[in-house]
Symmetry: C2
Subunit: 306 residues, 2 copies
Amino acid sequence: MTAVQGLDWIGADWGTSNLRVWALDAAGRVLVRAESEDGMGRLDRAGFEPALLRLVGGWLPAEGRTTVVACGMVGSRQGWVEAPYRAVPCTPFGRGPLARPETRDPRLSVHVIPGLRQDSPADVMRGEETQIAGYLVRNPGFDGVICLPGTHTKWALVSAGEVVAFQTFMTGEIFALLTRQSVLRHSTGGAGWDGPAFAEAVSEGLSRPERLAAALFALRAEALLHGLTPDRARARLSGLLIGSELAASRPFWLGQKVAVVGAERVAAAYAAALGQQALTVATAEVEPMTLAGLAAARSRIAEAIA
Amino acid sequence: MTAVQGLDWIGADWGTSNLRVWALDAAGRVLVRAESEDGMGRLDRAGFEPALLRLVGGWLPAEGRTTVVACGMVGSRQGWVEAPYRAVPCTPFGRGPLARPETRDPRLSVHVIPGLRQDSPADVMRGEETQIAGYLVRNPGFDGVICLPGTHTKWALVSAGEVVAFQTFMTGEIFALLTRQSVLRHSTGGAGWDGPAFAEAVSEGLSRPERLAAALFALRAEALLHGLTPDRARARLSGLLIGSELAASRPFWLGQKVAVVGAERVAAAYAAALGQQALTVATAEVEPMTLAGLAAARSRIAEAIA
């Protein structure tokens, strides 16, 4: 293995299911990226360093310590080192030092970004604060709502550089469970997409969210009795769930400037759903926002050391 | 193996996940019961007869054919023989002959009860029509709503001996997926029950069903930040889901006489939730209703042969 030429630091997004790492130069450009399924969920405390080294061991120069900046569930109580939540309202990042796990390999200097908590209504995030920080770096002075769709979609109200409040929805996880493991898997197996069916279902879910419970099995029955296609059923299910989420998150987005930060397909779905509500929506990909956030954290570490 | 003395016929409730069979005498008394996990979902067409014989092969006398009356997914298109749905409004059972799969074993004479369909809103049931028939045998002249909670809860409006309309809710399956496979499994693992938390959550789910999507992750966050106990979280989740179901099924139960037919714990939960709405609710166990329904189907077969 040969070290990566020009490597200045390493960024890591370490969630429950996946570990993603980037080798970065001093200007924050990506030199190499790698990922594995060594998420927090399958590691005990002693497993984190070997999991990290499996991906980045070959990138490191033999001399000196390379800074690794990590965000996500790696900082939870069951993670590598607990980085206690900071309470909103607050800036996405604090001024204090980051949590530091002990490492056996002398080439590593690991720093873990803490997540955010909201006491009432109770809510937590780990990882999304870094994407929010990155979005604010890229869009200075942004005031409005940032929607971060994913397994657990977060809605964050941002004002004057602070996260004022946020709320989590399990929409992505529920969609995955229903389409992969429930009786609906027989009726929603399509790989395609039906835009009009999605749009109609968003309106239904948003205007009559109380009918969601009744609308789900109807997808199965419509497939059995009336030939509802898998693509259409899948788009309808997604629309019903996102529409219901929009009904419950209305206090966040109503009358606001909204930015959706997410993977391409899911971000497009949320942007389309919000667009139906006559909102102007900006979208941004996750990876550049995560990297901008990690770089901001990295520069604070460098300042603190200097 | 020795045949069961006094065996007159065999009843079978053959669902997606399980096969339950009863050896019955001429008065409909249970002589032996057995069950396996040979549900429709894991069998191909050639697998049904061997699966049945694994349970009842030892019960059968060597001479003559023993009548087996079966309900449930065994009659679906992917089942042993398709028993086409009958369309509501209709009586739970029709007058025509039942579907007959071919059998290789000369000791078997198998009859499969068809399910019910509703064209609009699209819905289907297989198995519950037999429980409804049984409930009507045991409660002649019943007019009102029968709620059959389970993996897929059915609400059926019954009048003058006919199923007028029905609706299916995936509440049981969603509860199982969320408590076993979602992030909530960490917070809802209790075996106990918190009645007041359940009651409060039913009220919340019923009066503000649009908040369901927001209330789910809050269970996880409340556990992390404020020590919500697993028993309380589990009861709250159940209450929120059942409350949301009650909001969507209100047209069925409002102002009606309601009978809940289900397994003890889940029937008690539904009865408690409905009781909060100032309804008088009767409850009945599933097995005796299934057996009464199968016996009614059996007597029609006997009449048709006589």
